[in-house]
Every structure is written in structure tokens, then in C-alpha cells.
């Protein structure tokens, strides 16, 4: 394929941040179709508009997702990207790899694809960016047979679940996010590959309320670690912080001259519930008032740790703004155990209670959060068998518009207007 003039893109080769333009050029030396990637992108930079056609239904037999079809709208000028379908390869939990595995995957992609990738897509998949329709099945064959790996999700199905690194390298994880993510991904392979939902559905697993996989912002079911007992305090380490022996916030501020660490100002005063205080040189926490926000723990990781009795809060219904505006996920289950010991029973049961209901009443292209809004939170709670809790809301309703069921009201709804009129002349 021809090399194109790319005066605009070339300007993105300078500067300290890694240049994708330089990278594509390097790749183009081995895979000339990459010149057309640069060419069509240069055209977009020049005309300030995309040159990809709308959609395109392609896939592998038996799967309803995992491939996003894409065609150039100027194929004659850039034949190398005439077809430019994306393949979503399911990533391992927390995205640890060996070079062996990655090299193998890259070899496959060199053989079947464009040479460009995304590590990773926003949902979490490995994104292999751009190939022709006829390459899809061969690639899939090799992926499954040679690597034992599989595609991720797209379409109205369960999307590839994702998690933070959890217990693998984080001291704060309140349950094993990786195992939960992996187990549920395996458990729901059918739901991932064969669209049967009203719209997309996403799980994300964060090990603690810091939420490093942004679950509460972008998953239909967000499993976010928390604990039910007390924050563990190492008073000696507290004194260490107060004596400036350890850097605040695990060293997150190294490099700027802030005032010397002040436990009152930086921890106690910033606790959102005001449930901490110093007493006889010891840090005290009234755990009944703590909302487990993580701030104090974040600031003094050597002194404070989440409680030992971990589990998760389950929040439901996050989504991007289309159509009614973005939603964060809403707290539905305050605490459940999340453990392989019983094959994540509580979680699975809850997820399926949502699906049973949503698959029945969700409209086409209606995210579960939107269905929740449409029917109202009380109805949703009843549908999934969860008792209403004050924890479900930030604050009680501000309007007086309560729906009562006929059974709740003495004497029911049926009345005789004649009888009423006998006592109340019109």
C-alpha cells in the first residue's frame, strides 16, 4: 500500500508523550496497510470529520457479539482499511499477562489483522483494531484453538466484566475481585456471547470504595468492596505518621512542599462523618458512624486498614448519558459476602433476580438503570425482593406523592358515590 503524506499527523510526533503516529509508522514498515490507517486519519484531521461508515454487521458463527463491524467511507483511496472491523478479546482479570501470552496474541494479530491494538478498551477487552471480514473466522479459530482464549462482548448482552487488581496487589481489597470477576465471566459465557437482553449489561468489581475500576460510574451491577466490622488501627503506626516517619497518603504527595503532616487537619477534620478523634495520644474511631469512605485509610495506609470482615456493597444501574442523562449506580444491597466458598451464591442470585425482571419488562435499548427510573425504586426493590432501607436513598422523598396499594388502605378503594352523596349534598 502507498505511503501517504501526513503533514498534520506528523506534528503529533513531537512532544514528551508517546506518539501513536510514530508507533503506527513503525508498524507500517512491517504491515503496509498501516499506511492507510495513517492516510485515512490524516484525511479526518484535514477535514475534521470521521471517515468511517455507520456500523456493519459482521461476526463469528454462533456469537452475537465480540466484533464491531467497520468500513471506510473512502475505500478506494485507502483500500487497506476498506474493512476495519474491531475484535474484542476478553482480557484476563486485572490484566496481568505474560510476555509469552502477549507475543502469541500479537503473532495472531500480525497474521490476521491490521497490526494496531488498544490495550485496553474502555470496558476492559483487548481491542484488536481493524481487520477484514474474511479474517474473522480464521482469527477466531486460532484464538480458541491455539491460545484457548475467547472474544469479549458487544451488543445487547453481558459485556466483558472487569475488576481492579484487588487482593493481588492491593492491601485494601475486601474480597477477591479477580476471582469474582473471573468466575462470573465463566459462569455467564452464554450471556456474554449471545445477546438476549434488552440492551447491554455490565459488571465491574472494585475491591474497596476507592473504586479503581470506576464501577459505580459505568456498570449496571457494581460490586464494591466494603467491610462490616471496625477499621483496624495500628496505634504505633499512627504515632509514626504524627512523627512524620511515614509519608502521608502512601507517598502520593512526594514532590511538593506541603506543610508537615497534621493528623487533625488531614485526617480527622476531613472525615466526612466526623467520627474520629484523638484521645490520650490514640486515634479513636466511632465505627458505627463511619461510612467507610476510605479517606483516613488512604492517608495512613500503615496505620489503618479496612475491617477484617470483608464483603461488598452492590450498586445497580450506572450508565452513560444517552438518553436521560448519566446515572451513577444506586446502592441496593448494603453488604453481602462475595466468596468463592459458595460460588458467589448471593451475588449470582441477586444478579439473576435483576435479569429475570429486566428481561421481562425492560424496553428495547433500555438500560436497567433506566428501567429502574421508569418504574421507580420501590417497584424495583419489590421486583428483586429487597426490603426498602433508608440506606437506599440519600434522603427521604421531598414530595407527598405516595402510591398506596388498595390492600394497604382500610376499606379498599371501592366506594359508593350515592352513599357518599347521601351524607354530603353536592
Amino acid at each position: 500500500m502507498a505511503k501517504h503524506e501526513t503533514p498534520l499527523l506528523d506534528q503529533l510526533e513531537s512532544g514528551p508523550w508517546p506518539s501513536f503516529v510514530t508507533d503506527i509508522k513503525r508498524q507500517a514498515e512491517k504491515k503496509p496497510e498501516c499506511w492507510d490507517i495513517l492516510g485515512i486519519l490524516e484525511l479526518s484531521f484535514k477535514e475534521r470529520i470521521t471517515h468511517w461508515k455507520h456500523g456493519g454487521i459482521v461476526g463469528v458463527f454462533g456469537y452475537g457479539g465480540g466484533i464491531v463491524g467497520r468500513y471506510a467511507d473512502v475505500p478506494e483511496r485507502f483500500p487497506g482499511v476498506e474493512h476495519f472491523h474491531t475484535i474484542r478479546v476478553a482480557q484476563p482479570s486485572s490484566k496481568y499477562y505474560t510476555s509469552k501470552n502477549l507475543r502469541q496474541l500479537m503473532n495472531l494479530w500480525e497474521k490476521h489483522g491490521s497490526g494496531m491494538t488498544n490495550f485496553h478498551g474502555s470496558t476492559g477487552d483487548v481491542i484488536l483494531l481493524g481487520t477484514r471480514t474474511e479474517n474473522l473466522e480464521p482469527f477466531f479459530w486460532d484464538l480458541t484453538h491455539e491460545m484457548g482464549q475467547d472474544l469479549g462482548g458487544s451488543g445487547s448482552n453481558l459485556r466483558t466484566p472487569a475488576c481492579c487488581l484487588g487482593t493481588s496487589r492491593c492491601e485494601w481489597a475486601c474480597y477477591d475481585t479477580q476471582e469474582a470477576c473471573h468466575s462470573l465471566t465463566m459462569h455467564y459465557q452464554d450471556e456474554i456471547h449471545r445477546p438476549a437482553f434488552p440492551y447491554k449489561f455490565k459488571f465491574k468489581f472494585s475491591g474497596c470504595p476507592n473504586d479503581c475500576v470506576a464501577a459505580i460510574a459505568r456498570s449496571d451491577v457494581a460490586v464494591i468492596g466494603t467491610w462490616k466490622d471496625d477499621i483496624r488501627i495500628d496505634q504505633a503506626a499512627v504515632k509514626g505518621y504524627m512523627a512524620n516517619e511515614f509519608p502521608a497518603n502512601g507517598g502520593a504527595f512526594i514532590g511538593r512542599e506541603w506543610d508537615a503532616f497534621d493528623i487533625q487537619k488531614e485526617v480527622i477534620d476531613l472525615c466526612p462523618t466526623n467520627c474520629m478523634w484523638m484521645e490520650d495520644g490514640e486515634l479513636k474511631i466511632d465505627d458505627a458512624e463511619c461510612t467507610r469512605c476510605m479517606h483516613c485509610i488512604n492517608v495512613m495506609p500503615r496505620a489503618l486498614r479496612p475491617g477484617a470482615q470483608g464483603g461488598a456493597s452492590i450498586c445497580v444501574g450506572a450508565k452513560a448519558p444517552i438518553l436521560d442523562g448519566a446515572q451513577f449506580a444506586t446502592l441496593i444491597l448494603p453488604f453481602i459476602p462475595v466468596t468463592k466458598d459458595n460460588d458467589f451464591e448471593e451475588l449470582i442470585e441477586f444478579i439473576e433476580s435483576i435479569w429475570d425482571w429486566w428481561m421481562e419488562i425492560g424496553k428495547n435499548r433500555e438500560r436497567v438503570g433506566e428501567t429502574m427510573q421508569r418504574v421507580g425504586l420501590p417497584t424495583f426493590l419489590r421486583a428483586v425482593g429487597v426490603e426498602a432501607l433508608p440506606q437506599h436513598v440519600k434522603y427521604p422523598r421531598e414530595n407527598p406523592y405516595v402510591f398506596w396499594n388498595e390492600e394497604e388502605v382500610e376499606g379498599g378503594f371501592e366506594r359508593d358515590v350515592q352513599e357518599f352523596r347521601a351524607r354530603h349534598a353536592a
Binding site: P209, D211, I216, I224, K228, P272, T273, A288, E289, C290, T291, R292, C293, S313, C315, Q327, F328, A329, T330, L331, L333, P334, F335, I336, Q373, G376, L377, P378, T379, L381, R382, E387, A388, L389, P390, Q391, H392, V393, K394, Y395, P396, R397, E398, N399, P400, Y401, V402, F403, W404, E408, V409, E410, G411, F413, R415, D416, V417, F420, R421, A426
Partner: protein, 379 residues
């Protein structure tokens, strides 16, 4: 002279407006308007304002039932004549204020008031409970779901000590409205007593065409629960409406628009309690009241369930809040889940908004406190 029904427009005066306020000022007010420097509450119900002229005005604030007789007003006038050169005023919360221009005139006034039985309780200032603003109820209105004056009397009898003292963490404003029209500021009160219906309207087919415009009745319903329908009246098919009771939230707007759709009912009607609203911009912005008890029955004549609920909330607040903290500020500081716990109010899904803008109230964070409510999750 006088009104002549045969020539109604003869000599008619109109658009006179209210009398100019200034003619009603006590002298010390007239002389010091705009000159006041500071005030001090000397005891519950007695205020002193100091002017830059050195003048002082002493105000004695007196509770009132609001629903008062000519005779009662005349008695107020007697008191004003005796102590205040014939001046008095009413506050924005229906209390009466008697003003005198010297400290020594206060005690005689207080003594006089006290001598008149329970008619003129002194209080309602500072960090206490002042008069309950309220509406008509069964005394005058057509849409109430509860009474007004009766409930207020019952509640104020019980909270009387908080009217005559200032022992709360901040002022606590209680309001009552007898239906969802909420004539007053029930939607922004520390404690709100709200009359609520719980049965959908009946349709008086025999009268509807005479007294209602059907399209208006239909469009009156914010939830589209009122639909066109047909009925047979005296063997003749007429156009009327029907109500989809599943969608009805008992707001009563259809009845406001159409007298042939009454919804009041002895068992259906009662009182909801809302709390945590405020109006002032002091410290925190104005807040709406929140529904914490969806229904208590109209247990006449003294509404014991209502009285107890309010007393319980008030006492939990008095015990738990910081100085200066309004009820809503306290509830937000401790968290609404704790509010329900410390007030021992059962939480029901009726307190979860499912109307417009409801999503805003959903808890979209993992921050929450464990309470009695979550015990089954953490056991």
C-alpha cells in the same frame, strides 16, 4: 347611606388597598424605624430592641389559635389599650406582639396576660417551638384530608413547654397543611404535618357533566390517571371520566378541577409527617421537608399518634443535635438512616421517592451507616 342593592355601582369605592402601615406604628417604632442596632431576648417571649437613638422597644410575643373570635380580638385590643397605647401587631406565624417602650412596662403586661387564663401564652422566640402555621381543615375548606385547628391544638398542648422555653438546639418550625395543596410552607418546615388522601376519587356520574369541563378534569391529573369514559345515567349514555386507580397518587388535583370527583374518606384520609425543611438561608440553603411517616390516622379529637410521633422526633432532635443545628441539618449530619434509627421510626418504601426528579434522592455511593435496618445483611 349604605349599600343599595338596586344601584350596586352607585358610590362604589374600589382599589383602595390596605391602610398605610405607618398610621398603626407605636410611637417608639415610628421614631426608630431604620435605626435599630441590636436586639436581645430577655426571656422566652420577651424581646428587646435597641435603637441608635438610645430608645428601646420591648416586645411580648403571645401565642394564638389563629382561628379566633371577634371577642378574642376585642380582648387583644383591651390589652393593647391598657399597656401599649392601643397598638399591637401579628407576626408572620400568627402570634400576637405587644410592644412597650420601657422595661418597667413589661411585667405589668405579662401579669395581665397571665391573669387571663390560657388565652395568651407568652413565648415563641429563640430556640424553641413557635406557633404552628396552619390552614383551614374541616373548619372551612372543601379538600382537607384532616383538620387543622384541632390537630394544632393537640400538638401545641403537648409541645407547650417548648413554646415557653428556648431549650432546643435551634428554632423548630412546625407547619400544618390539610391537603397536598399545602397552603403555607409545609414543604419547607422543620416538622410538617400534612393531610393526605389515600383513596382515588369517586366519580359522580350524575353530576359530572353539569359541574365539570371534562377535558379540564382529564388534563388535571399529573399522571394521566383520569381518562375519558362513558356511563349510563338514568338510562342515557353520557360522557364522563374514569380513574386508573393504579396510577393515582391521591393528589386531589382532579377534585380541585372537578367537584364531581370527591376523594375524601374517613379511613383513607390521615396525616403524613415530613421533617427537615427550612426556609432561612442561615448557614445552609433552604431545604425541602422530607416524608418520614407516610400515614397516621385521623384519630379525633386529639390525634395521639401524630402528637406522639412529633414529640418523639422533637425529643430525639433536642437530644442529638448540636447548638444552632436545625432539624434537617442534624438529620443530614448524622445521615437519614441514623435519623430513622434514633427516632425509632420504621422505614417504609413510601419514603423512597418515585415521582419526578426521584433519581436525585437515590444513594449513589457506597457511603452509608449500618443501622438496625441493615442487621439482616451483616448478621
Amino acid at each position: 347611606m349604605g349599600y343599595n342593592p338596586d344601584k350596586p355601582m352607585d358610590g362604589r369605592l374600589s382599589d383602595l388597598g390596605p391602610p398605610h402601615y405607618e398610621q398603626f406604628f407605636p410611637q417608639v417604632i415610628r421614631e426608630n424605624k431604620g435605626k435599630w442596632l441590636w436586639h436581645e431576648i430577655l426571656q422566652a417571649g420577651v424581646l428587646m430592641h435597641k435603637s441608635e437613638t438610645g430608645a428601646e422597644v420591648y416586645t411580648v410575643r403571645v401565642g394564638s389559635a389563629r382561628l379566633i373570635s371577634i371577642e378574642h380580638v376585642r380582648e387583644l385590643c383591651d390589652i393593647a389599650d391598657a399597656h401599649c397605647d392601643g397598638h399591637l401587631r401579628f407576626t408572620t406565624r400568627n402570634n400576637v406582639e405587644f410592644m412597650v417602650d420601657a422595661k418597667e412596662k413589661v411585667q405589668p403586661l405579662l401579669d395581665d396576660l397571665a391573669s387571663r387564663g390560657n388565652k395568651f401564652p407568652v413565648g415563641g422566640t429563640g430556640a424553641g417551638v413557635t406557633n404552628i402555621v396552619h390552614t383551614q381543615g374541616w373548619a372551612h375548606c372543601h379538600t382537607p384530608a384532616t383538620d387543622a385547628s384541632g390537630v394544632v391544638k393537640a400538638v401545641m398542648d403537648e409541645l407547650f413547654e417548648y413554646f415557653t422555653s428556648q431549650v432546643l438546639p435551634a428554632q423548630c418550625r412546625i407547619a400544618l397543611a390539610c391537603c397536598l395543596n399545602m397552603c403555607g410552607a409545609v414543604h419547607a418546615s422543620d416538622i410538617a404535618i400534612l393531610g393526605v388522601h389515600r383513596k382515588p376519587p369517586m366519580i359522580d356520574h350524575t353530576r359530572i357533566s353539569g359541574v365539570c369541563e371534562l377535558p379540564l378534569a382529564i388534563s388535571s391529573c399529573p399522571l394521566g390517571a383520569v381518562k375519558p369514559a362513558k356511563a349510563v345515567v338514568n338510562g342515557k349514555e353520557i360522557k364522563t371520566v374514569k380513574v386508573n386507580v393504579e396510577r393515582c397518587m391521591f393528589c386531589g388535583n382532579c377534585y380541585t378541577m372537578c367537584p364531581a370527583m370527591p376523594l375524601a374518606d374517613p379511613d383513607g384520609d390521615g396525616i403524613a409527617i415530613l421533617v427537615g425543611g427550612k426556609v432561612s438561608n442561615s448557614r445552609q440553603a433552604p431545604k425541602f421537608s422530607k416524608l418520614v411517616i407516610p400515614f397516621l390516622p385521623n384519630n379525633t379529637p386529639r390525634w395521639p399518634e401524630v402528637v406522639n410521633a412529633i414529640k418523639g422526633i422533637l425529643e430525639a432532635y433536642a437530644a442529638g443535635a448540636n447548638k444552632y443545628e436545625r432539624l434537617g441539618e442534624w438529620a443530614e449530619r448524622i445521615g437519614w438512616e441514623k435519623f430513622f434509627e434514633v427516632c425509632e421510626i420504621p422505614f417504609t418504601d413510601k419514603s423512597i421517592d418515585d415521582y419526578r426528579l426521584a433519581y436525585d434522592s437515590w444513594r449513589t455511593t457506597t457511603q452509608f451507616k449500618y443501622t438496625s435496618h441493615t442487621a439482616s445483611y451483616t448478621k
